[in-house]
C-alpha cells in the first residue's frame, strides 16, 4: 500500500523508485506550506529521490530519506509485510510532527518502497542505470 491509503496495483515491471517519486512529488506539491516538516521535508524528500532516480544518488541518500522521514513522522512507520524479506508488517497508526496528513503522505510511499524494494534503489545508486520499465509509474 502506498500513499494516502488508496490502493494501487502495479506489476513487476513498474519502476518502484520512480513510482514513489511521482507520489511524493504529488504530496510535496500539495503541501499548504503551513508547518515546517511538510513544507520543507516534503520537498527535500522529493529532491533527494529525484536525484536517486536520475542515477545521481549515493548510499548516504538512501539513509537520508529515512532521516528526513523521521523528522516528519517519528518512530515506527507502517508498511506491508514481505515474505521475500522475511519482514512482518508494521500497522497503522503512525506518529506525526505535522499538522495534517499531507506531510506524512509525502513520506509514506518512500518509506514503504525503500523498506520493501531497497534493492531497486540500491541499483540506481550503484549501477547508475535504469531498470527497463514499461510504465512510468502509478500516476493516478
Amino acid at each position: 500500500m502506498l500513499g494516502s491509503g488508496a490502493i494501487m496495483v502495479m506489476d513487476h515491471t513498474t519502476d518502484i523508485p520512480r513510482a514513489a517519486l511521482t507520489l511524493t512529488r504529488f504530496y510535496a506539491h500539495e503541501s499548504c506550506g503551513k508547518c515546517t516538516p511538510c513544507r520543507e521535508g516534503g520537498t527535500w524528500l522529493e529532491r533527494i529521490l529525484s536525484r536517486i532516480v536520475d542515477g545521481k544518488g549515493t548510499d548516504a541518500d538512501l539513509d537520508q530519506l529515512f532521516e528526513v522521514g523521521e523528522s516528519i513522522c517519528p518512530g515506527a512507520f507502517p508498511h506491508a509485510s514481505s515474505s521475500k524479506l522475511g519482514l512482518a508488517a508494521t500497522p497503522f497508526p503512525y506518529r506525526m510532527n505535522t499538522i495534517c496528513f499531507v506531510g506524512p503522505s509525502a513520506y509514506a510511499p518512500i518509506h514503504s518502497a525503500l523498506t520493501l524494494f531497497r534493492d531497486e534503489f540500491e541499483s540506481r545508486v550503484t549501477k547508475r542505470h535504469r531498470i527497463p520499465v514499461t510504465s512510468s509509474g502509478a500516476t493516478s
Binding site: A28, H29, E30, S31, C32, G33, K34, C35, T36, P37, R39, E40, G41, G42, T43, W44, R47, I48, Q64, E67, V68, E70, S71, I72, P74, G75, R95, M96, N97, T98, I99
Partner: protein
C-alpha cells in the same frame, strides 16, 4: 505567647479554582486551566524551543519546534506544547531522546533552505534560530540541494524591509498585523515550498505599529531601516526605561552602542504595553542623535543668537528674570512647558516657580484639558481594557496614544468590552465600536444626553463596569464642552471611572508636580496685554503647539525677555534671549508619570549631547543665581523632595520604584471638580463648516522632524471634507481652496474624506505646509470656516 503573627496557613491566599497541577520532567508545576503547556513550562524553567509561539498572540502551531511528549492512554504522544492545554495530572516530558530527535529534525528542516547569512545578518547574536540551532539543533546540515532564492531584501513599508530567504514562515508578523494591529496588510502568498510573506500589490504595509514585526520576527527576515547594519547585538548595551513620546508610557529597553542610541525594544509590561510599541515611539531615538541638537548655550548679542558658556548664559538668564521681577514683580514672570521631561524636571521647575512667587505656570499648550479632570475617580489602562463598557470621549487614540488604541482594540476584539464612541470624526477605533456617534463640535453634552437616553445603551452601561476615556478631541473648540459632557456622564453613571488621555509624555506628572497653576491661553493673553515681562519655556514650542496661531504669534512678539530650555532650536525660541541646551530622553535619569498616573523609572543610557544639562539642574542653578536655594543637588534629591512634598507622589519612593518595574500609581489627586456653566455655541451659518482640528501621529513636531525615518511620514496640511460636501462645493479632491475664518483666510489643499462628519471640516494639526491654526480663535467656543473654490 506575645506574638501576634498569624500562622503561615492562615496567610495562604484562597485556593484558585482554576489551578491545575501538571508534571514537567518529573517535577510538579502549578498551572492555570486553559493555559498552554509551553507557558507553564516557561514558568517552571523548562525551556521549550519555539518560533511561532508568542505569548501575546493566538497560537497557530506552525513551526512545530515546540514538540513535547505527553503521557497518553496509548503511551507517550508527541504534541505541540504551544497548542496543547494543560490538564490536571498531565505528565509532560521535554527531555526524552524522542523529543530531542524531533527538535533536531525540525531545526534541520528549518535550516535546509535558510541562507548562510549569519555573518552579515542583523539578527546574528540575538537570533532565536541561531541560538536554538546551537542549543537544540543537529549540529550540521545534510541538505546538499540548491537553496530557495528570492530577491533580497524588499521594502514592505517605509521603514521595514523583508528578506524572504531568511523567513521561516512562522506567521508572527502576519498574525501581528492582523490580530494585534488590525492592519492586515502583510500576508502569506503562494503555497507549499513557495509560501512567502508579502504585501498586497501596490499596497505597502503602512502601519503605525510596523516596528513590532521586526522585534518579534524570530530571524533576521524583517529589519528596520533606522537600525539596519548599525550594530551587532553583542555590542549593544541596554537599560530598561519608559517611552515618554506620548503618555501611554510603554516600557522599553534603551539600547546603545559606542554611546549612541540605536534601538528601543518593547518590554512586556502587563498593565501597560504588553511588549508593543508604536513606530513613533520606537524610532524617534534618531532625533536624540541628530546633528541639529543644541550643544551649547546661546545668548543674543546684537540681535542674533551666539554661543556662550554656561556661566555667561545662566547669569544672563538670571538677570533677565530679576529685571522682570524688578519691573513687574514675580507675577510678571511666566513658565510654560515641562510636560516632556521627567517628574523631577517638573518638580524642580515648580519649586523654582513657587520659591520665586511665579503664578503664570502651565505645562499644556492650550491643547489639553483642565486639571479638574483628575478630580473624578481614576481608571487605569488595564481597567479600561477590562471594563464592560468603555465610553470614548476624546481624540483618535490611534493617532495620539497608539498603544492604548491597541489595548482597547484588543478589549473589543476579544469581546471583553463594548466601546461606546462619541467623536467628531471617525477614529481608528470606530470600526471596533459597539456604537459610534459623530456629534458636531460643541454639542458633546447633547450627544451624551441622547446616548444615555437610548434604552439599549442605558442597559449596556448598567450591566457592569464603565470607564470613560476622556481627552481633547478638537483643538478648534473650547475644552469646556468636553468637561461638561464628562461631568454629565459621571453623574449619570454610578461607579464610572475616568481615564484622562492627555497626550504629552509626562503631562500628568508635570501637572501633579505643580506646573499648572493657570492656562497657557491666559498666559498668552497676559503677554499681549503687556503683563508678562519674562517668559521661560521648558521644552515647549508654543508657536508649533498652541492651536490659536494668531494669539501665540502676538504674545511671543510682545514678550521682551524669553529664556528657552530646549533640545533644538524651534519656531518659538529662535528669537529667544537665552537658549539653554537640555538633556534629551535617554540622556537623563528620573521618573515619569503616564496618562493613568503610573510612575515608572527612566534611565540614562548615553552621555548628554554637547554640554546639555537636565531641566531640573538648570532650574536649581538659575534659582541659585537668583539667591534662592533649592535643596536639590542630584536627581535623587529632587525625587526625594518631590515624594515628601507632593501628595500624589507620596508612595513612589525610589526604593519602591526599583522593586516594581511596572510602576506605581499616584495617590488620589487633590484636584476638585469644576462645575461652572458652559457657553452655548452659536448656530452655524448655512454655508459654513464647523472646524475640527486634531493631531496625526506624525507631524511637524521636533522629534518627528529630526528623525529621518519618520519625517517623510507626516501627511501634510489639508482640509478634509465629506465627499458629499465636497461635491456641493464643486471642488475636486486635491484641489487648492480658499478657507475663510473670522479673522483671516488661507489657501490649502482639500481632501475628500468619508470619515469626516457632514457639515464639519477636519484638518490635521501642526503639519508641514499651511498652518490651520490661523483659523482657530481660542476666544470662540467653536470655530467655523467657509470654503471657496479658487
Amino acid at each position: 505567647m506575645s506574638t501576634t503573627e498569624t500562622s503561615p496557613e492562615e496567610n495562604l491566599p484562597p485556593a484558585d479554582p482554576n489551578a491545575v497541577r501538571i508534571t514537567i520532567n518529573g517535577r510538579e508545576v502549578e498551572a492555570r486551566k486553559g493555559e498552554w503547556i509551553i507557558a507553564a513550562a516557561d514558568r517552571s524553567g523548562d525551556y521549550i524551543p519555539r518560533f511561532c509561539y508568542h505569548s501575546r498572540m493566538e497560537s497557530v502551531g506552525m513551526c512545530r519546534q515546540c514538540l513535547v511528549e505527553v503521557e497518553g492512554p496509548r503511551g507517550p504522544m508527541m504534541v505541540v506544547s504551544c497548542m496543547t492545554p494543560v490538564a490536571d495530572g498531565q505528565i509532560v516530558r521535554t527531555d526524552t531522546p524522542q523529543v530531542k530527535r524531533a527538535h533536531e529534525g525540525i531545526l534541520e528542516l528549518l535550516l535546509a533552505n535558510h541562507p548562510l547569512d549569519c555573518p552579515v545578518c542583523d539578527k546574528g547574536g540575538e537570533c532565536p534560530l541561531q541560538d536554538q540551532a546551537f542549543s537544540h539543533g543537529p549540529g550540521e546540515s545534510r541538505f546538499i540541494e540548491e537553496k530557495r532564492h528570492y530577491e533580497k531584501p524588499i521594502p514592505i513599508s517605509d521603514i521595514v524591509l523583508l528578506d524572504r530567504e531568511r523567513c521561516i514562515l512562522c506567521d508572527r508578523c502576519t498574525r501581528f498585523a492582523d490580530e494585534v494591529a488590525g492592519d492586515a496588510l502583510i500576508h502569506f502568498t503562494s503555497r507549499g515550498n513557495n509560501t512567502q510573506v508579502l504585501t498586497f500589490p501596490d499596497e505597502p504595509f503602512s502601519s503605525y505599529f510596523s516596528g513590532n514585526t521586526v522585534q518579534i520576527c524570530p530571524v533576521g527576515a524583517l529589519t528596520a531601516k533606522p537600525y539596519r547594519f548599525k550594530a551587532r547585538p553583542w555590542d549593544l548595551e541596554k537599560v530598561e526605561s519608559t517611552c515618554t513620546t506620548c503618555s501611554v508610557g510603554c516600557r522599553i529597553t534603551v539600547e546603545s552602542s559606542r554611546d549612541q542610541l540605536l534601538r528601543y525594544q518593547g518590554v512586556d509590561s502587563d498593565p501597560v504595553n504588553w511588549s508593543w510599541l508604536c513606530d513613533k515611539g520606537r524610532f524617534n531615538f534618531e532625533a536624540v542623535g541628530s546633528d541639529d541638537r543644541l550643544a551649547e548655550p546661546l545668548v543674543t548679542s546684537n540681535g542674533t543668537l551666539a554661543p556662550a558658556s554656561w556661566s555667561v548664559a545662566l547669569r544672563q538668564a538670571a538677570s533677565l528674570v530679576s529685571e522682570a521681577v524688578a519691573e513687574g514683580g514675580a507675577s510678571s514672570v511666566a513658565i510654560l512647558g515641562g510636560a516632556r521631561g521627567t517628574n523631577e524636571d517638573a518638580f524642580a521647575w515648580a519649586s523654582f516657580a513657587r520659591a520665586l512667587g511665579v503664578t503664570l505656570v502651565d505645562s499644556q499648550m492650550g491643547d489639553g484639558l483642565p486639571s479638574s479632570v483628575f478630580a473624578y475617580p481614576q481608571a487605569t489602562i488595564d481597567e479600561a481594557a477590562h471594563a464592560n463598557t468603555v465610553i470614548l470621549l476624546g481624540p483618535d487614540l490611534k493617532e495620539e496614544l497608539p498603544v492604548l488604541h491597541l489595548r482597547l482594540r484588543d478589549a473589543s476584539e476579544k469581546k471583553r468590552s463594548r466601546l461606546v464612541e462619541l467623536s467628531q470624526k471617525e477614529t481608528g477605533l470606530t470600526r471596533y465600536a459597539w456604537t459610534s456617534t459623530l456629534y458636531e463640535p460643541g454639542l458633546q453634552s447633547a450627544a451624551v444626553q441622547s446616548l444615555l437616553d437610548d434604552p439599549k445603551v442605558a442597559a449596556q452601561v448598567a450591566s457592569g463596569s464603565v470607564v470613560i476615556v476622556v481627552g481633547r478631541a478638537n483643538l478648534a473648540e473650547s475644552p469646556e464642552f468636553t468637561m461638561d459632557a464628562l461631568r454629565r456622564l459621571v453623574d449619570r453613571i454610578p461607579g464610572a471611572k475616568v481615564l484622562p488621555v492627555l497626550r504629552r509624555g509626562n503631562v500628568r506628572g508635570a501637572m501633579h508636580a505643580g506646573l499648572s497653576t493657570t492656562d497657557t491661553v491666559e498666559v498668552l493673553r497676559a503677554a499681549i496685554e503687556g503683563r508678562v515681562n519674562c517668559l521661560v519655556t521648558v521644552g515647549a514650542d508654543p508657536i508649533a503647539d498652541v492651536p490659536d496661531a494668531d494669539l501665540v504669534r502676538r504674545a511671543m512678539a510682545a514678550i521682551t525677555r524669553h529664556i528657552s530650555i530646549d533640545t533644538f532650536l524651534t519656531a518659538s525660541n529662535q528669537n529667544a534671549d537665552v537658549v539653554l541646551p537640555a538633556a534629551a530622553f535617554g540622556e537623563k535619569d528620573g521618573t515619569t508619570t503616564n496618562a493613568e498616573g503610573r510612575v515608572t523609572q527612566l534611565a540614562r543610557k548615553v552621555t548628554v549631547h554637547g554640554t546639555a544639562r537636565p531641566d531640573w539642574m538648570i532650574a536649581v542653578e538659575l534659582a541659585d543665581l537668583l539667591g534662592i536655594e533649592l535643596p536639590m543637588g542630584s536627581v535623587h534629591e529632587v525625587h526625594d523632595a518631590m515624594v515628601s512634598n507632593v501628595p500624589e507622589f507620596a508612595t513612589v519612593s525610589r526604593d519602591a520604584l526599583r522593586r516594581i518595574p511596572d510602576g506605581i500609581l499616584v495617590a488620589g489627586s487633590q484636584e476638585s471638580r469644576d462645575d461652572s456653566a458652559i457657553r452655548t455655541p452659536n448656530d452655524r451659518a448655512g454655508f459654513a463648516y464647523r472646524l475640527v482640528v486634531s493631531r496625526k501621529l506624525y507631524d511637524a513636531g521636533r522629534n518627528v522632524e529630526k528623525s529621518p525615518s519618520l519625517a517623510p511620514l507626516a501627511p501634510g496640511a489639508a482640509l478634509h471634507l465629506h465627499p458629499l460636501d465636497l461635491d456641493r462645493l464643486g471642488a475636486a479632491d486635491g484641489a487648492q481652496v480658499k478657507v475663510i475664518g473670522d479673522r483671516t483666510s488661507i489657501v490649502m489643499k482639500v481632501s475628500s474624506d468619508p470619515s469626516v462628519r457632514r457639515g464639519t471640516a477636519w484638518a490635521p494639526f501642526n503639519q508641514p505646509g499651511t498652518n490651520i491654526g490661523e483659523l482657530i480663535d481660542a476666544d470662540q467656543p467653536v470655530n467655523d470656516v467657509r470654503v471657496e473654490t479658487l
